[in-house]
């Protein structure tokens, strides 16, 4: 699986939504992405890329696009 595929499936699994809805998605813009959903998302991302994210990165990950920037810090390229 490519990194984009891994990244997208972390979102679709955590929120139970279609891949087509991911672009432009932001924290708290859908009921599924609340603090509980955010926990699931972080867990899914950490599993998918085998990383441990820093506190600041966890609370900074406020959109689908922002997440890609953050993961770049962990040497994950898209």
């Amino acid at each position: 699986m490519s990194n984009v595929e891994k990244y997208n499936s972390a979102f679709t699994e955590a929120f139970g939504i279609e891949e087509s809805k991911l672009a432009g998605l932001t924290y708290q813009s859908i009921p599924e992405w609340d603090s509980v959903g955010h926990m699931s998302l972080i867990a899914a991302l950490e599993d998918a890329f085998d990383i441990m994210m820093e506190t600041d990165d966890i609370i900074d990950l406020s959109s689908y696009e922002k997440g890609k920037e953050i993961l770049a810090k962990y040497d994950i390229e898209f």
Partner: protein, 464 residues
């Protein structure tokens, strides 16, 4: 005299700080509070749709001070369920965010307005009735907990005493105001002349942590799920020099997590206080003194000052020996008057006489510390919210689903007899309760297991 009648004593001290950094002194807050209540003018029933903001707190305090009885309502409540609640209790006014109600606005303050519902009902309110809280806000049950002025007074001062809350404290909100635990944090800090930092921002957002650091917050509370989030956020590695104590309630924190946080907090010089309570006891019934957070991890502690616990067996005899499981019974002045299911019940007096059968099963150790081991009633705690399983079943059945509901805290399981409806029921319950779908799973079952009398055999469900 109740604490909200003597807040004037704190004068120019800062009472509230909003998430945009606006500071409001006690005196100014009380002026606003009394002005809002002045538009109602007499003891009556009001719906107070509240969030962690200045307007909610001002309206709420004004109502209490004017002996107007508020029903505290979570703004995320399902609108259909809200309408039913309003129809059941027929409040004369609603204090809510603008646009919440389309009725006639008589006064507006900030982002809130006071609207007149048009109900002409003259409520017969028991003189000691102060406040009404929903038992499970999420399922929109009309069942309310009736709290008296004495209840609030007693619990507030007991909590201030055992937590040693001072006017130097700065608490940040992490829980809804309409939720008994969140409300008690507000009550106790205001009564102590401390400062409350109001925000609805979640722990998972940057704005929360920025505010916490900028405002030099000394304390916050959390439900078990809050502590799971803190763990995920690597709380152990966070630099939070102003934080002096944190509390936990709203469900049982696992022994592992209790111990983990007890150690982390010890290392950081933060006091961790595990507590236990119910809205039926105003808010708090027990606390685990922080010195015992490690040695008694997993315990809910001892009764709060002026309260008393005992355990009873099935024949209602008091259990005195340690390590014998029984139902936990609490006695104290904070035991609420009783419930209301209909508007006529608001006239009812004290039905409990200071004794509460908690519905929780517990045991005591040799040193007199209590441990919750299970529950008598059919409800789950989901992210700290009490969700009554029978009410969820009722909601589902009213929509024509043949189902039964069970599961564990933070994980509700819905069993449906129509295989094609599995996803649908999950989303329906998530939507109605306003709780994340991750808390709900569903499974197909050919038939709901029942005994000869037609009663659902829930223990059989757990094995599916």
């Amino acid at each position: 005299m109740s604490f909200f009648n003597s807040l004037e004593n704190h004068g120019q001290k800062t009472a509230l700080i909003t998430d945009t950094g606006v500071e409001i002194a006690y005196q100014k807050l009380l002026e606003e509070a009394d002005r809002i209540a002045g538009f109602i003018g007499k003891r009556s029933l009001v719906f107070c749709v509240c969030s962690n903001n200045l307007e909610s707190v001002a309206g709420y305090l004004g109502f209490l001070r004017a002996r107007i009885v508020p029903v505290l309502i979570n703004p995320d409540v399902d609108r259909e369920l809200y309408s039913e609640l309003e129809h059941t209790y027929q409040p004369s006014f609603v204090w809510a965010p603008k646009q919440f109600s389309e009725k006639e606005c008589v006064y507006s303050y900030g982002a809130y307005e006071l609207t007149k519902t048009g109900y002409q009902k003259e409520h017969d309110l028991y003189p000691e009735l102060a406040l009404l809280l929903t038992t499970s806000g999420s399922t929109g049950s009309p069942k309310l907990v009736r709290q008296s002025y004495k209840n609030i007074e007693s619990n507030t001062y007991s909590i201030i005493e055992y937590l040693h809350i001072t006017r130097e404290d700065r608490a940040i909100t992490t829980l809804p105001m309409s939720y008994t635990y969140g409300l008690s944090i507000l009550h106790t800090h205001l009564a102590a002349g401390a400062t409350v930092i109001l925000t609805d921002a979640s722990l998972m957002s940057k704005s929360f942590w920025t505010l916490l650091k900028e405002q030099k917050v000394t304390t916050f509370g959390g439900v078990p799920y809050t502590y799971e989030m803190l763990k995920k956020l690597r709380f152990a590695r966070m630099d939070l020099p102003s934080l002096s104590y944190v509390t936990q309630a709203g469900g049982k924190l696992s022994k592992e997590l209790s111990l983990e946080f007890a150690m982390v907090c010890k290392e950081k010089g933060i006091k961790l206080i595990i507590m236990y309570g119910q809205s039926e006891a105003t808010a708090r019934m027990s606390y685990l003194p922080w010195e015992y957070a490690i040695s008694k991890a997993g315990s809910m502690g001892i009764a709060i000052p002026y309260g008393k616990f005992r355990l009873i067996d099935e024949t209602e005899n008091t259990i005195t020996a340690p390590h014998i499981i029984g139902e936990l019974v609490y006695e104290g002045a904070n035991v609420t008057l009783g419930y209301a299911d209909a508007v006529e019940d608001l006239a009812k007096g004290d039905e409990r006489y200071g004794v509460l059968l908690t519905g929780d099963m517990a045991e005591m150790d040799e040193d007199g510390f209590f441990y919750i081991v299970g529950r008598k009633k059919r409800f789950l705690k989901i992210y700290g919210n009490r969700v009554n399983l029978d009410e969820v079943e009722g909601l589902l059945k009213s929509k024509g689903y043949d189902c039964a509901v069970g599961g564990a805290d933070d994980h509700m399981k819905i069993f449906v007899t129509d295989e094609t409806k599995c996803e649908e029921v999950r989303h329906f319950v998530s939507e109605k309760t306003g709780l994340n779908p991750a808390a709900f799973s569903s499974a197909y079952i050919p038939a709901i297991p029942r005994n000869e009398a037609g009663k659902v055999l829930y223990t059989h469900l757990e094995e599916v």
